[in-house]
Homo-oligomer: 345 residues x 2
């Protein structure tokens, strides 16, 4: 059986981290696409800080996809389906499976139903699979679903996760309203000045994984206020006590069967010693809890993305979300060893 | 579609708790088997503390199984395959699927390979499934497997779980060497006076779930010593500082692919405020952690057993272990709603 042939689409931090991990897991990287000219013509291995791969970054996606025939495109460009629709459609038409990190793609049926249905139809026609992976996979679906499976009766499920907005540069910091007064924050958010939440995609996938029927959604935003001075590396300045240092997206999903789900995702500028967290409580008979201590979510976003490569090749054609796939599994061997017979012939 | 027809085999605490949960999940209990005459002729509902079910406990298993044609027998009698082999064979020959709580049945291939192969052949001939469920399902396989799926490279996996030996009566207390001096304990354990561990069954299932190949096993026993006086309810006396209050089974599994697994299960007499615990660390790139806080394992042993009923009916014939089944899932609706079409016609 031959190695899995992969194109890395998006040469940002995740694409480059995946490059190393894919190599270490025996994948053959056959193409690299960046959107900016700055990286054009540079060897992907050099960008990723590993040995040269003999794969030069190109900015013409159509040319790359048309010439190298990958099994899977690893797409890490933007976050939302409308933004990446054309990229996805191009990959599908080239006959490649697509595994994206775009957060909305994790379960796009409830937030972009029309575009998702179009992608699903296109993928079925071309016999390929489109899937969104990432940190949500293990930490927000498969671990949580397994916890829920130990319930006799669920009244509610409450998840809480944090991430350090200071790790993602000034652009992200700006969208998180860091450094604003509470009044300015509340005014801006009242004007709708916050991107859509990803919690709805996570909860939609959890509902589908548990055969539950969503019947109502709410989303609210809750500011995080610093109680003593804290320095933001991204902003290069100190945020004084009482300032907004980020906010939580709080999504609520009601289901026809009864259980109410809440997921709060808090992105803010961390203080000393803080780390990413992930905690879930299931209330009912009995009450259940799961926590992941110090969560290295920067790394696990990439590890889970890479570990899903065989599943995306194995999956039926269409938009196939993670909840429809086998449990995420550790890959000790080269990725192609986990691909069903004949799929790589 | 009709309800799932169930026989409860073993009218102990777990069989009776399951009786209530099965009723609440829309199963039809059609028979009850106890091994002692004390419960013979009593309504199972009365024993379970719920409304009468019109099902009288019988001690003649063959008669019950031959007359009521259950879809599934819920078997909670003893712990080891050699002890329950005849019970399993009888259920299989009657044409019923069997879902047991016997700890060894969770993954019996590595500890009772010959008897398991015989049961597997018998089950295939009769077109039924034999599966072991319980607390291991979510907490020691599916949550842990999902955590491992977020790894790029695993060096080792370490699990630690505790349970209160004082909750299980004087018989269990006696097997845990509670109240002995360290010298007496070490002498007894040196003579082989400890039951086989269940950790090996758990680790074997984890290996199979992760496509890893076990190549070496070790089991050790570690005493738990009380550091100040503690009262045992089961024994009705105080254990003074320095006394053995139970022990840990520590199982180690080496794999051909590299990762080394250790699972320590500590059963001892709890002090005030202690509760069951479950913690797993995965060491590698990156390091990962999972903890379940206060674990209500008495209840979750039963909830998981009941939630697996549809999966056992859906599964192929033979001995099918939990790692080969879909992720454990919450069942909001009556159990028969999760059974594949035609299986209950």
């Amino acid at each position: 059986m031959r190695p899995v042939r992969v194109v890395v689409y998006g040469a940002g931090t995740m694409g480059l981290l995946a490059t190393r991990m894919l190599k270490e897991k025996g994948a053959q990287i056959v193409g690299a696409i960046a959107r900016s000219d700055a990286k054009k013509g540079v060897d992907l291995g050099t960008l990723a800080g590993v040995d040269k791969l003999g794969v030069l970054v190109d900015t013409d996606a159509e040319r790359v996809l048309g010439s190298v025939r990958p099994d899977v495109v690893m797409l890490a460009t933007q976050s939302f389906i409308p933004e990446i629709y054309d990229q996805l459609a191009m990959c599908i038409r080239s006959g490649a499976n697509v595994l994206t990190l775009a957060e909305e793609t994790f379960f796009p049926w409830n937030t972009s139903p029309t575009l998702t249905a179009q992608l699903d139809r296109l993928a079925r026609i071309h016999g390929v699979t489109v899937t969104g992976g990432g940190h949500q996979d293990s930490f927000w679906i498969h671990q949580v679903g397994a916890l829920m499976g130990a319930s006799h009766r669920i009244d509610s499920v409450k998840g809480f996760a944090t991430w350090n907005a200071d790790d993602y540069g000034p652009d992200v910091i700006a969208t998180k309203h860091v450094g604003e007064t509470l009044e300015a924050f509340e005014h801006a958010v009242g004007q709708g000045d916050a991107p859509p939440t990803y919690g709805r995609n996570v909860l939609g996938a959890l509902a589908q994984a548990s055969s539950l029927t969503p019947v109502g959604w709410e989303a609210t935003v809750r500011p995080v206020i610093v109680d003593q001075d804290r320095t933001s590396r991204s902003l290069g300045r100190t945020l004084s006590a009482g300032t907004v240092i980020g906010y939580s997206d709080v999504d609520t999903m009601r289901t026809a069967e009864g259980p109410v789900f809440t997921f709060e995702m808090a992105g803010y500028v961390y203080g000393a010693g803080e780390s990413d967290t992930n905690e879930w409580n299931v209330y009912g008979e009995p009450d259940l809890y799961l926590g992941n201590g110090v969560v290295p979510s920067y790394t696990t976003t990439c590890t889970q993305w890479v570990n899903r490569v065989p599943d995306v090749i194995n999956a039926r054609p269409g938009v196939v979300t993670i909840d429809e796939m086998p449990p995420l599994s550790y890959r000790a061997l080269p990725l192609h060893r986990y691909v069903d017979g004949g799929k790589l012939s």
